[in-house]
């Protein structure tokens, strides 16, 4: 099957191969020996395949055998009719595909989803957003994570990519949550505090500290 992929399959053959993989390999979680995990880390720092369903890993492997020419078009075709598990596999492979910058809009489609597993397949444990996303997309990814109750900590490069524009968005968001009487994720401050002074949010930070006093 992998050899057929390398030869550049027609659309129908690729669709069929991609869709049927769970039937061939099952859905058990991928168990990796420490040496495998070290190899993954060495190949792409921050990239964590441990615990993936084995069919997701197999789907990515399949895609990695496709020819480089036309890869982004094939990815887009698969993504447009993908089910949730297929979307998760497609997006988890982002750090490994050829010409990664050509897939940025596709990754953006993953972030647009309110399905948390799909969003997190793009955002979490992946060097792709840090390396490829422009500031606008980066900022909206971080804000959206807070909106879908997804933790920020697994986003790679959170501190390095922090910026004043994001700090301003988080400041407004914190104020909105406070006005609505809703809780504010403590993770929010991590991207805001470095620029608190620059965006006039010192009082917001101080208030958040005081709110922790019972």
């Amino acid at each position: 099957m992998l050899g057929e992929m390398a030869a550049g399959p027609d659309d129908a053959r690729l669709d069929l191969a991609f869709a049927r993989l769970p039937r061939l390999v099952g859905r058990a979680p991928l168990t990796l020996a420490p040496a495998d995990e070290a190899a993954a880390e060495a190949a792409r720092p921050g990239w964590r395949p441990a615990g993936w369903p084995v069919d997701a890993a197999a789907r990515i492997l399949l895609l990695l055998h496709l020819p480089r020419a036309g890869f982004a078009d094939r990815f887009r075709r698969l993504r447009r009719v993908a089910d949730t598990a297929e979307l998760v596999a497609l997006f988890r492979g982002l750090p490994l595909y050829p010409d990664p910058e050509r897939l940025e809009d596709e990754a953006g489609e993953g972030l647009r989803s309110n399905m948390r597993p799909v969003f997190e397949a793009v955002a979490h444990h992946s060097p792709y957003p840090r390396e490829v996303f422009g500031e606008h997309r980066w900022n909206h990814m971080v804000l959206k994570a807070l909106f879908v109750d997804s933790p920020l900590a697994p986003i790679q490069g959170l501190d390095e990519r922090a910026n004043p524009e994001l700090a301003m968005m988080l400041r407004d968001y914190a104020r909105e949550r406070r006005a609505a009487g809703r809780p504010i994720s403590p993770e929010l401050w991590r991207c805001l505090i470095p620029f608190a002074q620059a965006v006039g949010a010192e009082a917001d930070v101080a208030l958040a500290d005081l709110e922790r006093i019972p």
């Binding site: 447009r80 009719v81 809009d105 953006g108 489609e109 647009r112 989803s113 309110n114 399905m115 606008h136 997309r137 909206h140 804000l143 959206k144 909106f147 301003m168 968005m169 407004d172 968001y173 104020r175 909105e176 006005a179 609505a180 009487g181």
Partner: protein, 297 residues
């Protein structure tokens, strides 16, 4: 008391909801065209969606005695698929001038990208050309600046604020929206948008002039009775009955009436409920239930 729910995605709701809404006094609903939770990939599915909300959904509402109107537009999320967006823009005018379309909407920003901006502006021009009001979906994220920007762009395109409903407001956006002369709508939607108790506080603080309450009920956890429930709470907490009537009925009517497609007479002297009616051969009756037929009032 009569109510209008001027933002309800009824295509995602059940017949139980229609029954409960009618029983609670809702006489009319406005169904804004939006996305469906995941991106459509072909213009044809978009066209069928628009036909469905203008056709079968309106028929379904009518079977429960509710008048059903639509707003037609390309939503901000799907505006990010340029090929789809271009194709949708071509079919929009055909749908936007159909009967019972009270505005171009819901349009505006999601992530405030360049493509969203382009199609928002083109649809504002379409609203001008067709002389229709506009319903603006303000973004969930980066909301305050996104709301300000939405109004700035409307003014750049020469729209009269009194013809524009700015939706999904909150405590942080309401003052500016009202001050600039727009209709300020609030979606009473548990956990992500406004709550009814907060809404009552806003009515107490800002009054009801140009304030509109809606449910934005859709496929998520939402409440199609948000409008009457908010009215009940407001009355219980001492908001004047006239202010409640404006926020939960009259202002929505006034905001969308300039379309020429919605009038009080539609429900005061409209046709009776007649569940025997078929829409393209489909009845909502199942399993041999008796049809409900009432006389017009």
């Amino acid at each position: 008391m009569m109510f209008i729910d001027p933002h309800a995605h009824m295509i995602s709701r059940t017949t139980d909801d229609y029954e409960a809404m009618a029983a609670a006094g809702i006489v009319a609903v406005i169904e804004p065209a939006f996305w469906v939770g995941q991106p459509r990939t072909h213009v044809a599915s978009y066209a069928d969606y628009l036909s469905a909300i203008l056709g079968f959904e309106r028929f379904r509402a009518g079977q429960f005695g509710l008048r059903h109107y639509c707003t037609i537009g390309l939503n901000s999320k799907e505006a990010n698929d340029e090929a789809l967006a271009e194709a949708v823009m071509e079919i929009l005018p055909r749908f936007a001038i159909k009967e019972g379309v009270v505005a171009i909407g819901e349009i505006g920003y999601d992530e405030q990208t360049a493509l969203e901006d382009r199609y928002f502006r083109r649809q504002l021009e379409l609203a001008r050309e067709l002389d229709l009001p506009v319903m603006i979906h303000t973004p969930h994220r980066d909301k305050k600046r996104g709301t300000t920007r939405s109004m700035d762009v409307c003014e750049e395109h020469g729209l009269d604020p009194s013809r524009v409903v700015v939706d999904h407001n909150n405590e942080e956006t309401v003052a500016e929206v009202l001050q600039r002369g727009y209709w300020a709508a609030f979606s009473i939607y548990p956990s992500t948008k406004m709550g009814d108790a907060r809404m009552v506080e806003i009515l107490k603080r800002y009054g009801a002039e140009r304030v509109i309450v809606n449910s934005a009920c859709d496929w998520g956890i939402s409440d199609p009775l948000s409008v009457p429930k908010t009215a009940k709470l407001a009355l219980a907490q001492g908001v004047a009955a006239e202010d409640v009537r404006r926020a939960c009925y009259a202002n929505a009517l006034a905001a969308f009436a300039p379309s020429g497609q919605i009038a009080e007479s539609d429900w005061l002297s409209g046709p009776a409920i007649d569940q025997r009616t078929l829409y393209e051969g489909n009845s909502i009756l199942r399993g041999g239930r008796d049809a409900r037929v009432t006389a017009a009032e």
